[in-house]
């Protein structure tokens, strides 16, 4: 497996390398110098943005030493976003994932490959002014597509559901977002709902709503700090109608980030999502999520 990961990591490093020079100024084009992470950027016609987000996370479901399943995942989301119109952003995200699920017996399953692609369209329905807007209101619609292959072990048998990288289902999503810009400060409120359908092995994830409230302070043109709260409320997943004992409920994360722009049109972000309020059903213990991203305006 290590040998399989090496080329992935090398190519990932290549993707992460910024270009030798920038040949456009995105913040000039939209009239706002705020450093924005992928997904929160202001639109202008023809804006094209690439990004890579590395994320490491995990969770343990069940009782330690009795029936716990420990999941660890490293993933790299490669995303492209394009604004064909001043009010419309189209984006696609392809996750590359490596996942390990370990039982208490130390029996392990590992899977790696392409995950489920997500495509979205974000329409900005309201801007208080065309250039350098202070208030932005947008709606988001999209779908997660079953692009992840069914992973198998060396003997040809299917890996367990928890080790599969995709759900095998077509999952529509829709959301709302409001952004406000005031001097060095900016604010974001957003909520996105997911309505998963049934996928592989009879599994259907629970319907969920994910919400974010964040404030960002940018004392200089090169860097900014961001502090947010992310919350997720979801119904329980089921397999062929039989509800899963663990999962479903509410969880909230504290989300500090640091954004840095080493050169024009490149934004590097690093942050962590720390679970601080866990009311998920059953026994689910998530780890903090470490994140690092690079976004590049072409």
């Amino acid at each position: 497996m290590k040998a399989s990961f090496l080329p992935l990591l090398l190519c990932g490093a290549l993707v992460l390398l910024p270009g030798s020079r920038a040949w456009a100024c995105a913040t000039c084009a939209c009239g706002d110098p705020t450093l924005m992470s992928m997904g929160t950027e202001q639109p202008f016609a023809g804006r094209l943005r690439l990004s890579t987000t590395l994320r490491a996370w995990g969770q343990t479901v069940g009782q330690e030493r009795v029936d716990a399943l420990r999941l660890r995942e490293a993933r790299m989301d490669v995303a492209v976003a394009y604004a064909p119109l001043p009010w419309l952003f189209l984006s696609a995200t392809l996750p590359l994932q490596a996942r390990e699920v370990r039982e208490v017996s130390l029996a392990r399953e590992r899977g790696w490959g392409v995950g489920d692609v997500e495509v979205t369209a974000k329409a900005f329905l309201f801007k208080d002014r065309e250039f350098s807007a202070d208030h932005l209101f947008s709606v988001l619609v999209g779908v997660k597509l079953p692009t992840a292959p069914k992973l198998r072990a060396e003997d040809g048998t299917l890996l367990e559901l928890d080790t599969q990288l995709g759900s095998g289902s077509v999952d529509p999503l829709a959301g709302l977002a409001y952004q406000h810009f005031r001097g060095d400060w900016s604010f974001l409120l957003s909520a996105t709902g997911f309505l998963p359908t049934r996928g592989i092995q009879g599994y259907r994830a629970g319907a969920s709503v994910r919400a974010t409230a964040a404030a960002q302070l940018q004392p200089s043109a090169r860097w900014a700090v961001r502090l947010g709260v992310d919350g997720r409320v979801e119904s329980a997943a089921d397999i062929d109608g039989e509800e899963e004992a663990n999962g479903g409920g509410f969880i909230a994360y504290a989300s500090p980030d640091l954004l840095f722009s080493p050169t024009t049109d490149v934004v590097v972000g690093a942050g962590v999502r720390v679970p601080f309020f866990n009311r998920l059903r059953g026994r689910v213990a998530p780890t903090p999520i470490a994140m690092m991203s690079v976004a590049y305006d072409l």
Binding site: M1, S4, L8, C11, G12, L14, V15, L17, P18, G19, S20, R21, W23, L50, G62, Q63, E64, R65, V66, D67, V78, L94, L96, E103, V104, S105, L106, A107, R108, E109, R110, G111, W112, G113, V114, A148, P149, L151, R152, A153, E154, D155, T157, L159, T163, L165, A245, N246, P275, F276, F277, N278, L280, R281, G282, R283, V284, A285, Y296, L298
Partner: protein
């Protein structure tokens, strides 16, 4: 432009590599469990196959015996680390809730209906547990009523064991000849059997343990002229369990 080409080429290469997704499975700890029957006292003379003498001196012959082993649960040896772990769990600020499960890595929850055969020593496989590495001192055997999908129901030799934890029949010898008896139980009884310090580790990830039930003590407490209907036969079955280390299930 060169940077764009580089980014696109790198991304394409990455996608192609990742498209060759794969998986692997690595086995962990496993404990195979089985159960058998044995005579542990000297046979009465003259003896037939299933004739026994109780601890109170009564002589009886079993013509049929079936019981339901509802679950087998591994119990870890207590350690200081466990106590600290429990304290840590209790103080953890991240809330968790408990879920109830029937089977787990340390518990075989599939009921087995076990029939006393004509010969002892035949090992019935109960299943395989996949517990965490560590030392396990005892196994808790619980005998309880069978549900309608218990393993071995069809082998119960004419007895419908659904809802029953035990069905024993036979005769008790007396001055006036042999008196037949037929005892059914719907109760529950548990016993902890020592595992002789079973240890599972990455160096020794697999083990096998077989439990032995001493059928010649199942009517203990029965005095000459008494009736097995007044006995705790299910408790006797549970208490007759011990560990046999040499057999393979």
């Amino acid at each position: 432009m060169a940077s764009v080409v580089k980014s696109l080429a790198s991304s394409t290469a990455l996608l192609l590599l990742a498209a060759c997704g794969g998986g692997e499975r690595i086995e962990g700890m496993s404990l195979s469990l089985g159960i058998t029957t044995a005579r542990t006292r000297s046979a009465p003379v003259p003896s037939s196959g299933r004739t026994l003498v109780t601890d109170a001196g009564a002589e009886a012959t079993l013509s049929g015996a079936r019981f339901t082993l509802g679950s087998v649960e591994l119990l870890p040896c207590e350690s200081t680390g466990w106590r600290w772990q429990r304290l840590w769990d209790a103080l953890s600020p991240v809330g968790t809730a408990w879920a109830h499960t029937v089977s787990s890595a340390t518990r075989l929850g599939t009921p087995h209906v076990i029939t006393l055969r004509d010969r002892d020593g035949e090992v019935l496989p109960l299943g395989e547990l996949r517990p965490a590495p560590g030392r396990y001192c005892r196994a808790r055997l619980t005998f309880e009523p069978a549900d309608d999908d218990a393993v071995g129901l069809s082998d119960a030799q004419g007895s419908d064991m659904v809802g029953l934890s035990l069905h024993v029949s036979g005769t008790v010898a007396g001055a006036d000849g042999a008196t037949p008896f037929d005892v059914k139980a719907r109760g529950r009884s548990s016993v902890d059997v020592s595992l002789d310090g079973l240890e599972l580790s990455e160096d020794a990830p697999r083990a096998t343990r077989v439990f032995t039930l001493a059928w010649d003590s199942w009517l203990d407490g029965l005095a000459p002229g008494g009736s097995p209907g007044n006995l705790d036969v299910l408790g006797n079955v549970a208490r007759s369990a011990s560990l046999q280390t040499s057999a393979e299930p």
